[in-house]
Amino acid sequence: MAKRIPIEDSYAASLAVKMANVDVISAYPITPQTHIVERLSEYVSNGELNAEYINVESEHSAMSACLGASAVGARCFTATAGQGLALMHEVLFIAAGNRLPIVMTVANRSLSPNISIWGDQSDMMASKDCGWIQIYCEDAQEIFDIILCAYKNAEDDRVLLPVAVNFDGFYATHVIESMVVTSQEEVDDFLPPRKIPSFALHPDHPTSWGAVGFPAIQTEIKKQLEDALRNSKSIMNEVWNQYGRITGRYYDIFEPYKTEDAEVVLLLMGSSCGTARIAIDRLREKGVKAGVLKLRLFRPFPDKELRSFLKDYRVVAVVEKDFSAGGLGGHLFSEVRTSLYNLKQKPKVLGFIAGLGGRDIRIDEFESVAKKALNIVNGKEKMERDFMFLQVRE
């Protein structure tokens, strides 16, 4: 068993970015992501990382500088959170549409008002349609591994898409825990320097990027992106398997925990998955057959995989730290339910919104959600709608 080292989650991200040998880092400080780029700045200043760090004047420019650097063939990194991601919003689409394999970490943070530096997933969810591959991580090990895989996946000729690696602000940025570090030799072997595409911006082969998208071509342009995003799923699996063979740590689109005989499945993403697993253990001690499905990949959305996994369960309770204002509850809930809707046999899908603005979700709260979902499917309890807010003081 390889030796684990102590590391703060943020620094696990920085270390992966360093070991990925990025060429350009362009970032603007925002809590709770700042530790990541502070450490990268140190690496660059110390000469431990042969890269350029662009101290931009906003997140909009952070992503814009990544566009330029990535378009000439550089491996680029940025990190942001909350308002920073919101400010980047329009630029995110350009990165995806121009097929630039930028990797960005998002230390998921609530959106203002009121100003909240604390974690929830509403930032990325508000930009979920930007064309990026979107992955949610739980802990330092996963952050480290997924970032390395993200570059490999993003830069694959068959993909060429940006990847957002999400993890909950503070809960998965400011915690010191332990992880195994893949050796630099293994990383170099797995992830050689980025191959500069033949169409990169360079005077030796002039190309024109971002031409006017007349009505006659915009449909094809958008569908081309959608196809690329859909296709990226199988390549991601290839990459994860390859990484698994090197490190022994395998990743998949989702990760079930004690779901085999479960009567209720909690479905969620991010740092609370572990807390939910503890809740499942406790429920099982009390005779409640519950399980957790941790979803790792949010874009491209794994609807097929979820259909085949979830179809025979009785009830699925989606717990998430975001919601669509005036819409149908949480974004994840909406998409899970939509994925299952046309099946003849399908579970009841319930949505629970919790953990907004960094509010802690306790073990007993996950237990209550599982019990409530069971009660509802058993007709012992009713919910006004299929989704609800938890943790609201009435």
Binding site: T207, S208, A216
Partner: protein, 101 residues
Amino acid sequence: MGEECKLKDKPTIKELPIASIIMTPATSRFYKTGDWRSFRPEIDKNKCIRCGLCWVYCPADAIIRTEEGDYEIDLDYCKGCGVCPEECPTKAITMVEEAEV
């Protein structure tokens, strides 16, 4: 002009290059702006002093400097703005109405 045939303003999704990047430089030379014109400039070679002002001032890049140092209007691209006769120091250029087809 084989290259011209490859330019499709309505490509299928498979023909559309990645990220709709235009892979060939300067393709607008296949788009002739000459038909925008109602008046065409004509150079009187006898009056022309070959100063090159019409060439440098042509906003449409539609005046050709020949190897001999002469200047010719490239009617494929001339939009007929009228800048060249206006700026010609010897009044060697006049605008002539395009004949109806």
